[in-house]
């Protein structure tokens, strides 16, 4: 990116020293924020554990293999997080379920970033009647409880093959793009009359090229920030779907749901609730912390 392209983002904050670009500044602010560092470390830890744990931990149990003789055991050396009512190892289930939850979060966020950015950029860039119609549509969807659409889309793909969780990703991503569209639109409106856009247009660049090469690179900050905050929202939404019996087969949401089911005052298999909830909460908390810190780092105006 040339210095000219980066100018609008850099004009927000006065440079700390000569030769330090806006991204380097943002990075410095981020690294100085203890909450961001804690959040990012925890996130990395959980992410690595879930992504690699099942493959590198020796003797990693199969999350689906049942063992009736060994059911409802508390945490022990053999079963770190205990076992469930079918004797399945909870440590294995939490890690493998985590893979699914994180994947749902990432893929759905990717879908939402894609739709939201495109929608917001087109509405903001062309403005006028088109902008009004597009944003009215967004307003309307905002007003509609989105769970309706999620559930209906989920049903559409409900087939004999329950292992296929792609539709859930799509459904969750397809309802989470509204805020993204609003944010990107706001940014694009602020940028579309800047001199460098005018210069590109004078040079004969097409609208698609102006949006893709000149405008969107200047919106990366807010997009990244909001995407970071979308991941936890999606994971939470998936857990609600799991609770209603519509989620994917094995995820943190499903495990937490199973854990909640055994809280009945008579039999307290606390480990079934504690460990999945802990992983879920730590992940969501870290993502929220990192997202907030990123927002402060990219846009110093909001920092106090």
């Amino acid at each position: 990116m040339s210095a000219l392209d980066a100018a609008p983002a850099g004009s927000v904050a006065p440079p700390v020293a000569r030769g330090i670009g806006p991204w380097a500044q943002a990075w410095r602010r981020l690294a100085r924020n203890p909450w961001a560092v804690v959040g990012a470390s925890l996130l990395l830890l959980v992410g690595l554990l879930c992504a690699l744990g099942p493959y590198v931990i020796p003797g990693f149990p199969d999350p689906e293999s049942t063992n009736p003789a060994n059911h409802n055991q508390g945490p022990s050396g053999a079963h770190w997080f205990g076992t469930d009512s079918l004797g399945r190892d909870c440590f294995a289930r939490v890690l493998v379920g985590g893979q699914m939850s994180l994947l749902v979060g990432l893929v759905a966020t990717f879908v939402s970033v894609f739709i939201g950015t495109l929608w917001g950029a087109v509405a903001g860039y062309y403005g006028g009647r088109l902008d009004e119609v597009m944003m009215r549509f967004v307003d309307f969807l905002y007003g509609i409880p989105y769970m309706f659409l999620v559930i209906l889309i989920t049903l559409m793909f409900e087939d004999k093959d329950r292992g296929n969780s792609l539709p859930i990703f799509a459904a969750l991503g397809a309802v989470q793009w509204l805020s993204m569209a609003r944010i990107v639109r706001g940014q694009v409106i602020g940028l579309r009359h800047q001199e460098f856009v005018l210069a590109a247009r004078t040079a004969g660049a097409s609208d698609a090229r102006i949006i893709g090469r000149h405008i969107l690179p200047n919106c990366v900050g807010p997009i990244v920030v909001y995407a970071t905050l979308t991941v936890p929202a999606v994971i939470l939404l998936e857990s609600a779907l799991s609770y209603l019996g519509l989620g994917v087969d094995l995820s943190w949401g499903r495990l937490v749901d199973e854990g909640v089911a055994v809280i009945n005052g008579i039999q307290v298999d606390w480990w079934l609730l504690l460990f999945p909830s802990l992983f879920l909460a730590v992940t969501l908390l870290s993502l929220n912390l990192v997202g907030d810190a990123l927002r402060d780092a990219v846009d110093p105006k909001t920092r106090r």
Binding site: F137, F140, Y142, G143, P232, A240, G265, L285
Partner: protein, 357 residues
């Protein structure tokens, strides 16, 4: 005023028509007509332009939502009669014809949509509940509606009150202990699924302490835990909004002036900080209402509350098309109504919106 205020007239007509539709089944046609005319005229006269245009847009978008929902349902595999055993193909065809669900192509969906809208506008009829023999959707949902509304509104009130209190306290002294504690709690509030919070509340207050009922629906005592469970995540978010609003307003010059002229700190807070905090919160209340309503699916299931959420989820799983559409219409209708009220409140709070209106 220049020219004919087209937007006002059309918006008033749309509003009056919607009021008429809502009131008809309860009041009968003549009374509902009067009510619709009064509401429409009052709306055209007093509502801000923004709100009127929202009402006007709501009608085509509402129809679009219905259409999309019907097409989605028809695309989903399975039909309302698939789970009933011992139904021959002939019987199923008969039933499919009876309920208009036989032709599941795009065109079939369009025909279904037309019939549904015609019935709705002509008689306020929302169709039969396919899975509950001999009952209409209206009969099924009418007792559940006040339950869901009570729960939703109470949660919204709790979320707003709690969130504003925490947020303003935190925003007045950013970086203080109260700020850190409040924001820490709200961080945790948005990081746990509501059914976990609810289950823990049940465990402590119902099972261990025995103060409140575990589940069910009856008096006010049954409402407390579900309403709090539903409210907490939104309280957390509102607290964050109120906090940044308060911080923003407290650095303004007029706050310094107010202090300089010797206003007591409590009055500065009540007169200025409160206003700064409430504006972003009010604009969030519309989306919050929509989400609290659907958040209640989970909470209603957890606490065994006979609200509309269970009908939607059950209806969707059983492919009880009319029940699904009915719950969607009722929920969305109330959310739109609530958004109108929020627009009005917002116009009162923000002079820029008021003057444009």
């Amino acid at each position: 005023m220049r020219g004919l205020p087209v937007l006002r007239v059309l918006g008033g007509l749309a509003l009056g028509f919607l009021a008429f539709l809502l009131a008809r089944s309860g009041l009968g046609v003549p009374l509902a007509l009067v009510l619709g005319a009064v509401v429409g005229a009052a709306g055209a006269r007093f509502l801000p332009r923004m709100a009127l245009s929202r009402v006007l847009w709501a009608i085509p978008l509402f129809l679009l939502l219905l259409f999309v929902a019907i097409q989605l349902m028809f695309l989903a595999p399975g039909d309302p009669f698939a789970s009933e055993k011992n139904t021959s193909a002939a019987v199923r065809e008969e039933q499919g014809k009876k309920y208009g669900t036989l032709d599941r192509s795009f065109v079939g969906g369009a025909v279904f949509f037309r019939r549904y809208v015609e019935n709705l506008v002509a008689d306020g009829y929302m169709g039969p509940a396919i899975k509950v023999e001999g009952r209409s959707v209206t009969e099924l949902l009418l007792p559940a509606l006040p339950v869901s509304l009570t729960l939703g509104l109470l949660s919204l009130v709790i979320a707003t009150a709690l969130g504003m209190t925490l947020g303003i306290r935190a925003g007045l002294k950013p970086g203080s202990l109260a700020d850190g504690l409040g924001m820490g709690v709200s961080m945790i509030g948005v990081s746990l699924p509501s059914f976990v919070i609810g289950a823990l509340l049940i465990l402590v207050f119902s099972l261990k302490l025995g103060w409140l009922p575990v589940a069910g629906w009856g008096g006010f005592r049954h409402l407390i835990l579900p309403a709090i469970t539903l409210a907490l995540p939104y309280a957390a978010y509102i607290a964050r909004l109120a906090r940044s609003g308060t911080i923003e307003v407290m650095t303004q010059d007029f706050v310094r002036t107010a202090r300089a002229k010797g206003l007591a700190e409590s009055e500065v807070v009540m007169k200025h900080a409160f206003k700064g905090a409430i504006v972003p919160v009010v604009s969030y209340l519309g989306p919050a209402a929509a989400q609290i309503m659907t958040g209640s699916f989970v909470v209603e299931t957890l606490f065994g509350i006979p609200g509309m959420g269970q009908y939607f989820v059950k209806g969707a799983v059983n492919r009880d098309y009319y029940v699904v559409l009915g719950t969607m219409l009722l929920y969305s209708g109330f959310v739109i109504l609530f958004n109108l009220l929020v627009d009005l409140a917002y116009a009162q709070l923000d002079p820029r919106v008021r003057e444009r209106g």
